[in-house]
Amino acid sequence: MKKILIANRGEIAVRVIRACRDMGIATVAIYSECDRAALHVRLADEAWPVGPSAPRESYLRIDAIIEAAKKSGADAVHPGYGFLAENEDFAAACRDAGLVFIGPSPEAITLMGSKTAARQAAIKAGVPVVPGTEEPLSEDTSDADVLTVAERIGYPLMLKAVAGGGGKGMRMVSTPADLPAALRAARSEALSAFGDGAVYLERRILAPRHIEVQLLGDHHGTVLPFVERECSIQRRHQKVVEESPSLAVSPELRRRMTSAAAAVAKTVGYTNAGTIEFLLDRDGSFYFLEMNTRLQVEHPITEMVTGVDLVQWQIRIARGEPLTLAPESLLTPKAHAIECRIYAEDPETGFMPSPGRIQGLRVPHGPGVRDDSGAYEGGEVPIFYDPMISKLVTWGETRGHAIARMKRALAEYQVRGIRTTIPFFQWLLDDEDFKAARFDTTFIDRKWGAPGSRLPQAIDSAHEDLAVIAAAVHMFTRSTATVVSEPVSIWKQAGRAEALR
C-alpha cells in the first residue's frame, strides 16, 4: 500500500493523513469547491477536485471519487466517518475498481448498516436488544401504519433512520400526536444525510447510559475488543463529550460487555475497525443498540488510554496484517481520557451554526493535551458540512486530572471570528453531577435548559469589566499597520488615534 486516497474532509481527513505519513504512505485528498484551501488539502501530497460544495455533488459522489483514486494511482481508500463511510455501494465500487477499501466488507456494511438486520445479528450472537420493530419502515409507509406499529411498542419510543448515525434522523416521540411530525423530520434528515428515508421504532429506555465498545477485526479470524467508551453526554442524540473508561462500568461488567461486542462482530465475520453501541440501563442490564461499521469520531480517547493508533491498525489490517496487539492490554485502560467536540455553533443562541472565517486561532498545548483539528487561522468553516471543527482530547492520571486538564485546555483555546461550543463545555465541566459522573443520555436536555444553568461565567461582571477594558484599550491603541511590540510605538498609535478623532 503506497498511496491512500482519503474520501473525506476536515479533521478526520487530517487525522488519516497524519497516520499515513507516520507509516510512509503517500496521501491523496479530495475536495469540493469551497474546500479548495481546507487544511486536509494543504497537508496532503495530492489533492483532486470532486465537485461543487453540496455533499451530494462532491463528497457523496462515488463515481467522481473512484475516478480520482484511479487517476491518482492510489491503491487504497480510507473513508473516514460520515459521508460514504458506511455506504456499501462505495465499498463495493472500491473493490470493483481494484482499490483496497480500508474498512469492513460491503457485505458487513450492508448487514450492520441496516439497524434492523444488525439487531437480528445481535440476537443471533446471544446479545440482548432493545424491544422494537424488526423490519424497516420504508419511506412510503403511511403515518397510520407507523402509528399502529408504535402502539405495539409503546410510548415513549425512539424513531430512528435505518441508515442513521451521528444523531441524524433520530427523534424521541412521547405521544401518538407527535409521531407524524417527528416522522416527517426524521425522514427528511435521513434522506438528506444518507439518501435513505427508511426508519424503525424502538422502545425508549428511560435515562440510560450510552456505552460503546471499539473493536478491531483482522482477516485471520481475530476480533479484539477495547475498553469501553462512555458517550452519554449528548445533545439532540449527538455525542458531544466522550470519555474512557466509564465510571459506570465495573471490571466484571466490562468483561461481559466487551465479550458481547466481540460476539456480535464474530457472528458477522467483521473485519477492520467497528464499534458496538449499547444502552446501559440503571439496573446494570445492557442492550445492543447498533454497530458503526467505521472509525468513530471519538476514537482518540481509546488511543489515549490504550496507546494503540487505531487508524494505523485500520491500514495494517486492510493490507492483510494479523492483529498482534495483546488482548488484555486493550481492556486495561491507562488512567483516563476525555474528549470535547468543538463545534462552530453558538450555545448562547440555541446552538445555531456559526460558519465563517476563523480570524484568530490559539490551540492549547502542554502535557496530556491532543487537538485533532481541521481548522486554521484564516481558514473558512463552510456552511455545507458538519460544523465540528476540532476534537480536544485530554488525558490524566485520574478522571479528575483529565477534567482539570480539559478545563485548562479550553481556557487556552481561542477560536476568534466564529462562535463555538467551548463555553458550553466550560459550563458542563463545572457541573457537580458531571464531575461525579452522575449522568445519562438525558443529562444535557435536562440540565442545559434549567433556569440559571446557562453559561454562568458569561454574566460574571468582573469578566465583563475585563472585556470592556480590553475593548477600550484596543480602540485606543489600534493600528491598521503590522504588530506593534514596543510600548513607545503603542503610544504613537494612541496619539494618532486621538488626533484622528
Binding site: 455533499p55 423530520a185 427528511s188 434528515e189 438528506s192 444525510a193 462552530a344 453558538d346 440555541g350 445555531m352 451554526p353 456559526s354 460558519p355 465563517g356 480570524q359 484568530g360 456552511i383 455545507f384 458540512y385 458538519d386 460544523p387 479550553l410 481556557a411 487556552e412 481561542q414 476568534r416 471570528g417 462562535r419 467551548i422 466550560q426 461565567q457 458569561a458 454574566i459 460574571d460 461582571s461 469578566h463 465583563e464 469589566d465 475585563l466 472585556a467 470592556v468 477594558i469 480590553a470 475593548a471 477600550a472 484599550v473 484596543h474 480602540m475 485606543f476 491603541t477 493600528s479 503590522t482 504588530v483 511590540s485 510600548p487 503603542i490 503610544w491 494612541a494 488615534a497 478623532r501
Partner: protein, 175 residues
Amino acid sequence: MNFEIAVGHGVRTVSVTRQGSQLQVSIDGRTVVVDARRVGDMELSLLVAPAGGADPVHSVDASLAARRTAGDFDVHVAGRTIPVQVRLAGGFGRQKKAGAAQGTGPQRITAPMPGKIVRVLVKPGDEVKARQGLVVVEAMKMENELRAARDGRVRDVAVTEGQSVDAGALLLVVE
C-alpha cells in the same frame, strides 16, 4: 478618549487616558491602571491594577474578533468569550442605556447564518406565542428552528420555502 461600551445587559461609560507609559481606564467611575502591549493585530497583553495602588500585575491576555457591525467585538478574555459593542461617547441612544432595548418593539427575525429556508411555519397575521417556531433554516446539515422571543403577531414574511439566504437577511417581522 471616551467610549460607551455595551456588555451583558448594560452599557458602561468608559474613558481611556495616557498616564506615563501606562493607560488609565475608567469604567462608570471606577478607575484602573493598565500596562498594555499589543502582541498581534487583535491581541493584547494587559497588566491591570486598581488605580492609586500598586503596579499593574494582574495579567489579562485579551484578544478580539470583529463582528459584522463596526465597533462590535467578541472579546476573548480569561477563557471566556464576551460580546461587546463599542461606540464613541454618545453613540448609544437613551433607550439602550436604560437597558430597555431588549424587551419592546417589533422583532426582526434574521438569518443567523447563511442557509436554506426549509419551512416557513407562520403567515402574515398569525398570532404567535413566545418560543413558538417561526421558520426552519438548514445549514451545516442541521435544521434550526427560529422562534419568537415574545408573544406577538406576524407582520411580514420576507422569504419562501426553498430559498437560500445570507447571514443577517431579514426573514420575517413579528410585532
